[in-house]
């Protein structure tokens, strides 16, 4: 008697499951995995990226899913900004059958997690990793989304030449690929365009004591025309204060790491700094409208442009899914790799003809009177961009 009833229940349950599966065939359910650092050292980058990403994914789901067919569920895992934990999270997500994987804003965990999704043929994208070697270090399923270091450096070098600077001093830190390679890429392009490197300095990340270093710069004769660095908080403000305190007046070129309210809060000494950023919100521009929308939805304006670049990723993915007509790994990879001029908030994104680090516009801004003023927005000339 009980056995019969149990069998009956089981059969009903199975039938219901089957029916549910048929019912959902119109809009297929897929899962996207995110193994990112929501706490720890990468949280300043991964948290805002995730906020933008979720907002875009909700919008896409509301209008029928990726490519109009795939309703997306997000499986979000916090890696505590630890590379080992990122690998474990990636492993779990791949085993759970995600169709797309997002990795943190940093090269090391992205490359480590990418090794796993590459083997499982799952297209993977780093949130805002800028190191141009990330993609080739993993393989053909690994994609970048943010303006790469070598592209930023190219634009800065072109700007330096256009300003008539002949000699540059570069300050770099061997502690991260970003702070080491970006100034080196800059030096490469700057020299190719006719500039000379007057000297190189080194610092340790986070130590914020630059007195010894700036005393050396102040002793240089002749003084360099411009100083270039990829230092960011807390190093950059400390460097700037020490540099101006030591009486050095050379203009400064920086990278997107200083696109932060701290830089504008530095007062008069920040005037004249020119740095790169993924985008600058002007009134009426798509990015400006997004900032307004984000503020309307969340009650606070985005603290950083990473919110916008995170928001762009689902739309890039949507374009690829629409082109491929499926979310199967190999087809989706090919569709992503062949995307051209996909309109996004900050311009357009192209993967075709790249090593899967996108070709996209980068904006130069200058700091004047505690505010940013856009200088130019341009896509770096691929012929000038140094090989990663």
């Amino acid at each position: 008697m009980t056995r019969t009833r149990r069998m009956l229940t089981l059969c009903t349950a199975m039938a219901l499951c089957g029916w549910a599966a048929v019912g959902a065939a119109g809009a297929e359910e897929v899962t996207i995995g995110l193994a990112t650092g929501q706490t720890g050292g990468l949280a300043p980058f991964d948290q805002p990226s995730l906020a933008g990403f979720r907002m875009a994914m909700d919008e896409i789901n509301a209008r029928g899913g990726l490519g109009g067919t795939y309703m997306v569920t997000l499986d979000i895992k916090d890696t505590r900004s630890d590379t080992g934990a990122t690998v474990q999270a990636a492993q779990e997500l791949v085993a759970a059958g995600v169709k797309f994987l997002i990795t943190p804003c940093d090269a090391d965990p992205s490359i480590a997690a990418g090794q796993i999704s590459q083997a499982a043929q799952i297209p993977t994208m780093t949130f805002c990793g800028t190191t141009p070697t990330i993609t080739d270090a993993v393989g053909d399923y690994m994609f970048g989304s943010y303006p790469a270091d070598n592209g930023q450096a190219t634009l800065l070098a072109q700007h330096a030449i256009a300003k008539g600077y002949k000699s540059a001093y570069i300050l770099k830190s061997p502690d991260s690929a970003y702070t080491l390679r970006l100034p080196e890429y800059f030096a490469e392009v700057f020299q190719k365009l006719g500039g000379t490197v007057a000297g190189e300095g080194s610092y340790s990340l986070g130590q914020q004591d630059f007195a010894a270093e700036v005393t050396k710069i102040a002793a240089l004769d002749p003084q360099p025309d411009v100083i270039m660095t990829a230092a960011y908080e807390p190093d950059f403000p400390a460097f700037l204060k020490a540099l101006r305190g030591a009486g050095v007046t050379a203009p400064i070129l920086g990278s997107d790491g200083i696109d932060s309210p701290t830089t504008t809060g530095l007062g008069d000494i920040a005037n004249g700094i020119v740095h790169t950023t993924a985008g600058f919100p002007t009134d009426g521009s798509p990015l400006g409208e997004f900032y307004a929308k984000y503020e309307a939805v969340t009650g606070a304006a985005p603290e950083t442009v990473y919110v916008a670049t995170g928001y762009e990723i689902p739309y890039i993915l949507d374009a690829a899914v629409t082109a491929a007509g499926t979310m199967d790994g190999p087809a989706l990879r090919d569709a992503l790799a062949n995307l051209e001029n996909v309109p996004v908030l900050t311009g357009s994104v192209t993967y075709k003809g790249t090593n899967r680090m996108p070709l996209r516009a980068i904006t130069l801004v200058e700091i004047q009177g505690g505010a940013r003023v856009p200088v130019e927005t341009a896509t770096p000339d691929p012929a000038l961009v140094p090989a990663p």
Partner: protein, 295 residues
């Protein structure tokens, strides 16, 4: 010569900050044998208070006092909530507790305030420079030299002249005997934590003035420096902490100034190598604590 003088001044200024940081660790270690790795988060608390005060245009001196007071209160609170229940545990458990406090506070800051750095814009006259003959000194480095001297003087007065100060020195030498004398242990320990918090607040003000922002993970580097400095100086010894702080600061600046360019990326390796040599020469530190207690 001018270059050397300037670098020497730079070294003294950095050493002063490290000395203050190391003192904060040493005050607590000398009494409860705890290396408080949450000391850096006390600095972060002070930094956020400074941020809020400046946001609401509170005059700077009041903001700084509020920040120092907040760090002292936070230190006393962590003692009451986390360290007092662990009072009889061995030093390793205590140290792990401090790691836990530090990790919890960091995540609270990240999820409760913001993962992004918050700007702490200081008045422009604080980024000025004073010229003394051939050398120049920024207002903030000058302030750190003065504040360090002043704090050391006040701390010495407190430890030598007040009952609580004397009790703390006695506790550092022999805690059990102190209790037999009828001094209440809880009060001495709470006072030590509050004092350590005040030192964290003072160094936070100098640290934040240099970097212009406060973020949830800000405390990591300073507490590391403080730890190295107090080990060089002799764990648990207050004068040792000061000596260790200056030794570390001077080593860092001089290596940065005089290493050849090719070796510059390895500056930290040279500094830590110097620390190893120092410890080989004096395994208990430059000025060992009188009880000889070590972790």
């Amino acid at each position: 010569m001018d270059f050397f003088l300037q670098q020497l001044l730079n070294a003294v200024s950095l050493g002063g900050i490290y000395a203050l940081l190391a003192l904060g660790l040493a005050v607590v270690f000398s009494i409860v044998a705890l290396i408080n790795f949450a000391h850096g988060e006390l600095m972060t608390v002070a930094g956020y208070v400074l941020f809020v005060c400046i946001l609401y245009a509170v005059p700077l001196p009041i903001a700084v006092v509020a920040a120092i007071a907040a760090a002292a209160v936070a230190a006393a609170a962590t003692e009451r909530l986390a360290f007092r229940p662990m009072r009889r545990a061995d030093p390793t458990s205590l140290m792990l507790t401090s790691f836990a406090v530090s990790a919890i506070l960091k995540v609270l800051f990240q999820n409760g305030i913001s993962a992004r750095p918050k700007p702490v814009p200081l008045p422009p006259d604080l980024s000025g420079t004073l010229t003394f003959g051939p050398v120049r000194l920024g207002t903030v480095p000058l302030a750190s030299i003065l504040v360090t001297c002043l704090s050391l003087f006040a701390l010495t007065l407190f430890l030598k002249r007040t009952v609580m100060g004397k009790a703390m020195r006695a506790a550092a030498e022999d805690f059990q005997v102190l209790r037999l004398m009828g001094i209440r242990a809880n009060r001495v320990i709470a006072a030590a934590f509050a004092l350590s918090g005040m030192l964290a607040g003072i160094s936070a003000a100098l640290w934040v003035a240099q970097r212009g922002s406060v973020d949830p993970l800000m405390g990591f580097v300073p507490v590391l420096k403080a730890f190295v400095a107090s080990v060089i100086g002799g764990l648990g010894s207050l004068s040792g902490a000061v000596a260790g702080g200056f030794a570390l600061g001077i080593a860092e600046v001089l290596f940065q100034a005089y290493l050849p360019d090719a070796a510059l990326p390895f500056r930290d390796a040279f500094v830590l190598g110097f620390v190893v040599l120092l410890l080989l020469w004096r395994p208990d530190g430059l000025i060992p604590a009188r009880t000889g207690r070590r972790s």
